[in-house]
Amino acid sequence: MAEKSMFNEPDVDFHLKLNQQLFHIPYELLSKRIKHTQAIINKETKLLHENISTLNEIFEHKDVEHDTLALAKITEMIRKIDHLEKFLNMQNKSYYEILNRIKKRLEFFHELKDIKAQNTETFDDHNTRNKLIRWYQSYTNILIGDYLTRNNPIKYSPETNEHWNSGVVFLKQIQLDDLIDYDILLEANKISTSLLNGRDLLPLISWIDENKKILTKKSSILEFQARLQEYIELLKVDNYINAIDCFQKFLLPFIQSNFPDLKLASGLLIFIKYFNKQKPDSSSSSTFNAEEIKAQNLPMKKDLVFQHFFHKSLPRDTSNPETNTADYDKSSLINLQNGDFERYLNLLDDERWSVLNSLFLKDFYSMYGISQNDPLLIYLSLGISSLKTRDCLHPSDDEEENKGTEDTITPENGVEHLQIFTLHSLKRKNCPVCSETFKPITQSLPFAHHIQSQLFENPILLPNGNIYDSKKLKKLAKTLRKQKLISLSPGQIMDPVDMKIFCESDSIKMYPT
């Protein structure tokens, strides 16, 4: 059966493919839960099996004493089973909850199917149109909820003693919270925020530990990079013992795959320590630089870091060591003109945190089959480009709003009202792409491609070069007259762009093809 498409919108199945993550995420959660349940069941059944064997052995004795022992054993078994039952009950509850998400989403898309089917059956266009619009408004709301949950901060409210995020608040308010796995998005948000704002690796590292198997399977470099960062941060605060400990425990296992990085990391230790000693005031404070910088909330920028560690400004050109060999500083371990030097600065740069964050998000999102980019932004990009016409964002539009009123018309009840009224009779005033909010976004995006003209009925040319729909222009003149915004004689029309008045007979019928 061919489905009627009212807005040329895609079919239901395409919608499903577009939103595969809505099913993929709960599946991943389901799958994790099942595996866990299965493991527990296997463990418990094995234990119970052993219990029964012991029990049978006890029964072999066939005396009251041992039977009493067996009784105690059974009581213990019942306790265990009771425990297991409670566990299964909990598992089943959350299993049910996850399934419910899938159910709600299937229902959501089923609704679209019904609306479309209804259109095919009843041809009640108006009704279907409204329903379809409403459905797509919900769809848009889901995208907004997703965007806010991903990007807006998780805030703490002391009154309710709860954490909240505007995305989740929004989704609950419009009762669409079952349609998004906001718990997953919030988890990513939390870890990401602690990396970027708190410079805190702990949440990330505990997430890595939880998902080690999957990450190793995908040969992810996230763990190594996170541990390297941990090591670097320890060095920054002069915690050499823990840094070396971290190196040995967490970095050494990567010696096969990341040997050059390990070399660099060990080098960094020596450099930092060496320059720490060289520092004139190093005697007065043992934990210097990074702590200080952190305390002052200064950005750990490359040149700043350099200043701190090496007490020299960042060499300008490090790419060509031969030209400056004469300046070789013998008292220093490092040849400042040596390009290799840059490597250590890169390690110390704060930029690494955002790199680490992107690495994390990439691994996290791909684990659940979530798109790397915010879906809302993808839709906006596509939508803007398919809407943006050559007529959009005309700089002349704003000038036109304020020109040519005094000598062309006789203001009767205030020019201002007339201006406002006529300006808003122009369709382009409602163009979403031209709206103040979207203007800056739209600017750099490509135009839509058109192969056919999209004009209007009865085009007439006014002496000023503007072409209008004749009927609409006459209707506008009629309304203006009726509301007494301007005195127009019969047969007169007004150009709403420059507000000049013409006779209908001055207009020329046009034949655009």
Partner: protein, 421 residues
């Protein structure tokens, strides 16, 4: 097409015990375990009884047959204990295996079919990072426009504080919408006064559209009458019609009056019950709210459809074309060539595209732009500037229109501009 949805639904239902989708397939594990626990408890009680009976003072008083029976009982308990453990072990393992298989199958047969493309792959033209604030602003507008009804609006200051706190929406943006939301709240409560007051205030403004406003007023009075009818008091209806409603509102609306109001009045007068009056009133209420919101947005010159919504809808519609283009591009090994224009045509519905005129020069088959604007010829046909220059050899000769036999000289051409009303 919704085949995928159909099979997804079918496959999904297998996660449950039956088609009512109330109990999960994992529930059975729980049931079996519960049963096993009860079984154990029962057996424990039996064993306990057995132990009591095996006490010498009891046991010795038994005759041989009874002793035999006693022993048999004990064996039976042990046997049953073993059996129920075996059964439970078997069934619970079987069931969890079944659950696990179902989830694997769901993934393999269904979810993999959904993974046909990657939405990241069409995000070629990225939104500039520095405009994310604009995205937030657009979201704020969207939430105000469609979500204001769901917000706590009783206190105006509280409401704007709430919006600022939760969504970061400034007072300037929210004021208009809070007023709108409060009127809608009143309408929902059955109070049309604030809305009528707003209408009459608007009527005084010259730049408002009087025709649509008076229509809204008419619908509001109709709503009031219907509400009175619903309450079932003819006297109140009469009062409503004669005292509360300015009669001239019904003057030019005989048709609507006869269709919508008169049948209700008649029935109310003769005391006959009116079928689904509730749903009729609620329909009328919806109509009034939608008319009011439309008028309100028009009066305040704010977007009736949130720009964000229109763009997202366009994006959704164009997704098919982007995906298709990407597939073709990959097959043909061509790159995303044009930077300032999409390489394909996206067909959008009229209500998304009627904001700007689009004119394709019939000679060059190119869209006219500010640099290459449309020009009218002597015969009132229109071509682009570039085409005109070419045909007239840069204005040096008179030429024949490509569509009709009329000749055009440069002096009879005129730069034109299409404007949508």
């Amino acid at each position: 097409m919704s085949e995928l949805l159909d099979s997804l639904e079918t496959e999904f239902s297998k996660f449950y015990k039956d088609s009512s989708l109330e109990e999960t397939n994992l529930q059975k594990c729980l049931d079996h375990t519960h049963e096993f626990k009860n079984q154990l408890k029962k057996l424990k009680a039996h064993l306990n009884k057995n132990i009591q009976e095996s006490k010498p003072e009891v046991y010795n008083s038994l005759n041989d047959k009874e002793k035999q029976k006693f022993k048999r009982k004990r064996e039976l308990i042990i046997e049953k204990l073993n059996k129920s453990q075996r059964q439970w072990d078997h069934s619970v393992k079987k069931q969890i295996k079944h659950v696990s298989q179902q989830s694997t199958r769901f993934n393999k047969t269904m979810l993999n079919k959904l993974k046909e493309f990657d939405i990241d792959s069409v995000y070629v033209n990225k939104l500039p990072k520095e405009t994310m604030q604009n995205v937030d602003e657009a979201i704020g507008y969207h939430i105000l426009r469609y979500g204001i009804d769901n917000m706590p609006l009783d206190n105006k200051n509280e409401a704007s504080k709430y919006l600022k706190n939760i969504y970061g929406i400034t007072n300037k943006e929210s004021t208009d919408f809070i007023d709108m939301g409060r009127i809608v709240h009143n309408l929902k409560k059955g109070d049309t006064q604030s809305c009528l007051k707003w209408c009459s205030n608007e009527m005084d403004s010259l730049s408002s559209n009087h025709a649509t406003l008076s229509y809204l007023q008419f619908e509001l009075y109709t709503l009031s009458v219907m509400q009175a009818v619903m309450r079932g008091n003819p006297v109140e209806v009469y009062y409503q019609m004669t005292q509360q409603t300015p009669l001239d509102f019904f003057k030019h609306r005989e048709k609507e009056l006869i269709r919508n109001v008169v049948p209700l009045l008649t029935k109310s007068l003769i005391g006959q019950p009116i079928e689904d009056i509730d749903s009729k009133v609620s329909e009328q209420l919806k109509e009034c709210i939608s008319l009011f919101v439309k008028e309100y947005c028009a009066a305040k010159h704010i977007f009736f459809d949130s720009p964000l919504f229109l763009i997202v809808l366009s994006g959704l519609i164009s997704f098919q074309f982007f995906i298709k283009y990407k597939a073709i591009r990959e097959l043909a090994h061509v790159d995303w060539t044009t930077k300032d224009e999409l390489p394909f045509d996206v067909k959008l519905p009229d209500f998304l595209t009627h904001f700007h005129p689009i004119f394709i020069c019939p000679v060059l088959k190119e869209e006219t732009t500010t640099e290459n604007p449309p020009y009218s010829l002597a015969c009132h046909h229109i071509i682009s500037k570039k085409a005109l220059d070419r045909l007239s050899k840069n204005g040096t000769i008179t030429f024949k229109c490509p569509y009709c036999p009329v000749n055009t000289s440069m002096s009879s051409t005129k730069k034109v501009r299409f404007v949508m009303l």
